[in-house]
Symmetry: C2
Subunit: 206 residues, 2 copies
């Protein structure tokens, strides 16, 4: 197959189509993992709710109780976290669809550029969501004595633990998306440079 390509350079790759297919597969696996992690982060955070009954006072021997709920909707950073991760999960699903349908669709060189740029935008959004949630979670866990904001994780422990799990999912998801985007950038160059046997020194300096 490789020698066939060498005779007809218009058809496609002439170098290492096996390597290209292998990288393709690795990217698809990473993409599936990133999709699952961001979906997991979305669902765990969106379904995170803890209701607890506290004894606020005792009148004689009758305890006076109050029921409080901790929900993700109460914290704007967690709402952004859910939106950002849901968006990233949808993005990863769509990009998987593009990758699998790619050979059938005539994309005319549009996808190799649009996919990493969309990845980049999604990395920025999910990174923002995860980071905001992490610092809000840290505030919930430790409080801030300077601002007189008391910790709440001593009262809503399982709420905080589930939130923390969602944040870890999201952070690993961001890391995978950064790797996917970086590999995409390297592949664009390697594909065109390798295909045409360009010397490696180049004047493309962004």
């Amino acid at each position: 197959m490789a020698s066939e390509g060498r005779e007809k350079p218009e058809v496609g790759h002439d170098q290492a189509p096996a390597v290209s297919t292998k990288v393709d597969s690795i990217i698809k696996v990473l993409r599936v993992l990133a999709f699952l992690l961001t979906l997991d982060a979305t669902l765990v955070m969106a379904l995170n709710k803890q209701t607890k009954t506290f004894t606020v006072a005792t009148i004689g021997t009758v305890p006076l109780r109050a029921t409080l709920s901790a929900k993700f909707q109460h914290t704007p950073a967690f709402v952004f976290f859910v939106v950002a991760n849901a968006n990233a999960a949808l993005h990863n699903l769509l990009m998987l669809a593009v990758a699998f349908a790619g050979s059938k669709l005539s994309l005319k060189g549009f996808a190799p550029l649009v996919v990493p740029v969309l990845d980049l935008v999604n990395v920025a959004i999910v990174s923002g969501g995860a980071s905001a949630a992490v610092f809000m979670g840290q505030l919930g866990r430790n409080g801030n004595s300077h601002a007189r904001w008391n910790k709440i994780c001593d009262k809503f422990e399982s709420y905080c633990n589930r939130g923390g799990a969602a944040m870890i999912s999201s952070l690993v998801g961001v890391l995978l998306m950064i790797i996917i985007c970086a590999v995409s950038i390297v592949r664009i160059r390697n594909h065109y440079a390798g295909y045409n046997k360009l010397p490696l020194n180049s004047s493309v300096l962004p």
Copy 2:
């Protein structure tokens, strides 16, 4: 020049060197702006401090006063904001140095790949820092009644305003860095594809 290049394709660009130089200049200008914005965000946040004296009680006619300071170091999200923006400012400065020294250094095709990947990582970090700071600032401004965290911006208004200005600088900086990285990605493809007159349909699908 353009026709000369056509005869000797090994030398360099054969297509639109003027366009390439123009895009180069635009990227450099955007890079300088991104550097200034992230530097501004770093300095404004790092120097942000407000000291205020409150009357906490009155004994007879003698007021009892307490002096409180609001500093960025008191909030972990703001510390991360300063580190992230300082890092991005340094990155942009180094990338400017690479861009200006690029023609003299023999970078052997390394820079065109490393620069957008480093840009990507920095976009993720600054986006995280800016987003965490924005949500912490929103908490300071509005408080959170569910967690019983009171707003503090009514007491430290100029501290909050300066912090907000730093956040706007940082957010515009991230936006510019996303544009720079996206343009870099498109340029890698256009450079190699244009140089070798490749047909636009390709099978590089990340």
